[in-house]
Symmetry: C2
Subunit: 201 residues, 2 copies
């Protein structure tokens, strides 16, 4: 049936690895790139290479970063006593846009999946524990999503901190149920930080 | 606000050139690639390079192709008397899957936009005229979309063929109004070919 040339088919297959991109979208994207935006295709290819080479994890907070420390960790005006734990870099961006947290972050770069047996290998727990050693952190704000994965991750974190000397809170449930942080507006995000529920004083 | 490293931001911007990918999706894609699928990112980068280098246009039908002629144009069992004109390669794939056209194709690689002044520079009209010179074509089947752009393109084509010695038809309007060919099932596509309306005998 389809008589697409091999290089075109390979590109379609490569595009299908993108989240929420099915066969039809991938075919449309490949056509769009090759027919109407070859400069864009070239730039995307190079941006991928550049990012693969340059982007690694911040030594302190685990977010994406090009140097040793990210801008936020390197900013001495941030309050080192409050550490907010989030799922991914987009959550840091959203929180910064809401302008309601002047502390630091830790980015788990993953969530616990309660359906798949609470596997902890997808979240950077070891790095988090190391981050807390000899730190000035007094309060930990768990800012995971209000989804099954986010709740499971919050549970794992709360257990981890149970016998450690931190105040521990979680974002107020002002965020709509089932909502993911990156789709919530700045005002709602700020509200949820101000009204965070204390889990442990 | 957002403290994304430059290489990450560059990748997000590069991903935004993809059709239907906004800032949020692009951010999510970049995160997914760098955190969970670096092999996929590498493959996507290489597939883009390979496609940019290898894929050009079939000399006869103008579709994407790696050699001089595409598989369909090179297939001597196809009937050279019937030429179907479509918008893009995905439409050829869909038509082949419907298994209702044993002739050849011509791929315009674009559509006329009636809102933006019927600019003809986006469709390969010159190449189509050259294709028809000294050809065995007797009937032309216009298989453009049933959208404003597809209708405008069909109009331009019908005008072009008005004084030329071809039978000219357009797909039957069995395809739902506003529908685009690549989203139509094979049965409906076949129906639309069998019931094509003659525009000129
Ligand atoms: Zn950092
Ligand atoms: Zn061809």
């Amino acid at each position: 049936m389809s008589k697409n040339p091999d290089a075109f088919t390979r590109l379609i297959n490569a595009l299908k690895i993108l989240p929420n991109v099915g066969p039809k979208s991938a075919q449309r994207m490949a056509y769009q790139l090759l027919q109407h935006n070859r400069d864009g295709a070239q730039e995307l290819s190079e941006a991928l290479q550049h990012a693969l080479k340059q982007v690694h994890h911040c030594e302190r907070c685990n977010t994406f970063c090009e140097g040793t420390l990210c801008d936020i960790c390197a900013d001495s005006s941030r309050d080192p006593r409050r550490l907010m734990i989030v799922h991914m870099p987009a959550d840091v961006s959203g929180m910064e846009a809401a302008n309601c947290h002047d502390g630091l972050y830790f980015v788990l770069m993953g969530q616990v999946n309660p359906v798949q047996g609470m596997d902890l290998s997808h979240i950077a727990l070891d790095k988090l524990v190391a981050r807390l050693q000899n730190s000035e952190v007094e309060e930990i704000i768990i800012a995971t999503n209000f989804t099954a994965e986010g709740d499971a991750t919050a549970y794992v974190l709360a257990e981890l901190f149970k016998n450690l000397p931190y105040k521990v809170s979680r974002l107020a449930r002002g965020i709509p149920l089932g909502g993911e942080l990156e789709y919530v507006d700045a005002g709602t995000l700020a509200q949820a930080v101000y009204e965070r529920r204390m889990l442990k004083e």
